[in-house]
Amino acid sequence: MNSFFNLKLWWKEIDKINFILISILLIVGIILSFSLNESSLFFNKHLVFAISSFFIMIFLSSLEPKTLRRVSLFFLVIFIFALVIVLLFDNEIKGSNRWLKFLGFSLQPSEFIKPFYFILSAWLIIQGINGRQYYLLVLIISFLLISSLIILQPDFGMTFLIFLTFFCQLFIAGLSIFLVIFSLFAILLLSFFSYYFFDHVQKRIDLFFNSNSGGFEQIDYSLRAFKNGGWFGKGPGQGILKEKIPDANTDFIFAVAGEELGFIFCSIIILLILTIIIRFLLKLLKMQDPFIIISIVGLTCCFGLQSLINIFSSLSIIPTKGMTLPFISYGGSSMISSSILFGFLLALTKNKIFYE
């Protein structure tokens, strides 16, 4: 494929501002990782993943929409298969079964499912709207299959994210108001269901609403970290949060940023993420191809909602969910998955598509 890759053409067609903003996000992640990890092992890993993510993103952004669909279908099938394998083999980490281990790598298939699935769901939705109702059936079945495979791990946060994003796609595609309300009810129902059937979800939610019940939990450390940060933070590497909680470099990376780099820096990260989301969404207004529109909606909302859930959790606005901050948190699966997502987004927003 590389022989087909024309850097000049690519640069001409790409949405340059978004590409730069996304790259800054990646650099912020590297900076935080550097200040977070005194041992070079983690930092080196992060750096390797960040650099490979960067090239994966560039490569994917050069593809044509039609190729994207085919690639997505191929990988979706592979990762659904991986999800099944994860459930069959027992690799339990912290009460859930999310990881697939081979050749010394551990891989989280549910992370990879996201970008591929939202491309395909967009295509199925459009086929359905165009009158091929058979495709809607496939859409619903595939959605139920994937979400039940993930909730069985159990990974409630990821299921919730996929559900919300899927809902956004349907909403933009013109879901009737009646079904919008129905879906909102379904989300509510799903929340109650997981509260009563999953102990750790219940524990977290109880903790959220009743801070007296448990001792000093992660979220209290997280809030204290923010408080310690002030305007400019304590300086890179000076925080203590990372010593106190085990998920500091993933679920609570934002709190680490707050403590070490301060309010201004946190606001910049939020502004950065928000700008990327809004720029992608605004681009839709000029577009015509329904498949591309719904795909972009899915990918953008997936990124936007995931970041939001991560930030809200670390700020104790919602109960902790255990979700990474795309491109910033440590973790190979999350980072590669984010690079695929951004690669797809950039591919779908290339300039020439406007003029078609």
Binding site: S39, S211, G215, D220, L274, L284, L308, S316
Partner: protein, 552 residues
Amino acid sequence: MIIQSKKFKIFDSDALRKFHKRIFFSIVVFLCCYFLAVFRIADVMVLEINLKKNQNYSLIPERGKIYDRNGQLLSTTVNSHSLFVNAQKIKKNKKILSKKISSIIDINEEEIYKKLTSNKKFVYLKRNISPKEHQKIIELGEINLQTSLEKKRIYPFRNIGSHIIGYVDVDNNGLAGIEKSYDENLKKGEDIYLTLNINLQNASTNALLKTINKFSAESGSIIIMDITNSEILSLVNYPDFDSNNVNESNSNQRLNRALQSNYEMGSTFKPITVAMGIDSGIIDQNMIFDVSKPIKNKIEDWDPCNCSLNVKEIVVRSSNIGTAQIAEKIGKDNQINFFKKIGFYEPINIKLNEAAKPYGQPYHWGEIETMTIGYGHGFAITPLHLAVAYSGILNQGIKTDPKIIIDDKIKNYKKIINKDTSRYISYLLRSVVQETKITGPKIRIEGYDIGGKTGTAELINSQNNYDKDLNRTIFISAFPMSNPKYLILSFIDKPKRKKANNFSITSATVNAPLVKDIIIKIIEILKLPKVDNEHILNAATSTKYNQINAIN
């Protein structure tokens, strides 16, 4: 179905051409959410509007203390230090360092080495180090060994009362006993006053230990209760443990036998059977029972006699044959009803998580079982069940829930038998001490009107047979019988036959002297005055029973 219906629309028609509104809507939602996040960060980080959660943390009160009934401190919290290490910063000489640390904090050298090489930033080497250890660690001069201030729970009386008081984990969450069942109150900073008298507790612990050693017994329990208000004054189990060092104990030591274990109670059930017979009017005191022949070749007496006995003699001689006949007259249904009434079908209503459900008779309960249960075989309850039932019977027939906390109000008044029956049972228990030739002399104390009943149960050995050498000996005792106030229940499991004790392992040999020791201690500690004999005879037992006594 939905898809096929023509009127029902999943998607609004031509929506895709008018999707702009919905895109704008989404953008607004995202904007709002992210601004909420910015506002929240500003709120937490800069504006110093204190968060509820942080306030709560800083205002967490110190865990409440636990006292005995006289205000003796049983459990409290002190400051202590925990030793941790930033293993990533320790670069060299890990072997030597771990050896040095090991010699100070008394933890396996390899374990420490493993932690030093773990490449983690925060590893506890030891929670709650002593001041001496702290000083030595400082002298080591390794800056990456750090200590953090923590709160540690301590128990000044160590093993004394540990089964009741319980213990906590390293984060001071209650795990057993009062620490667990009153965890919420303690966490709010409330102090708890127990009904225990720590001096009595100490005395009964020592007495129990002496007996256990004397007979090389396996385990034992003692319960002392105030009959008039059901307060538990002392509750001891052996083997026991030190609440300060729970990790060094095993589950056998932590078992609160008096509350958690179910046992067959042997002959101590006989007065209960008599009480249900008399109270229901099925038998009266003058009835005579022929005890010369074993029943169905199964029910025999320890001390056979070719004679007939009245009710009192049956209890005093502890006749299985006689009691079996009484139980047969009472019948299964009345038996079950009475057991329900005196609480043998429910866990004891006491706020201690250890209080277990009684085992009862889960298998077959036919005519023969009704008879054997009458004298305490084939029905298992916890020692506390027996103590509470006796306490109710002796408290003029009024049973209440036992109390372990001082300010508990007396709960669940329940009349279980008539006053007259209660008095009659007191009279029987007194007669056992006054009239038996083996038990009586071992427990009598001049001037204190003591009553009691022995019980001995043979246990099943590894071959699944009842074994004459494996006994559980029980003695339930109360005084003064004129107006019962103190109840003492003692339990010894598997005493060994020894020459010094004439190879006897009956309740009379094992438990009677133990209970006597304890009663002497109660008299000493609570400064109970002697009552002269005549006064007892006049006030204590009604003339009616004295007459019966005279006739027999």
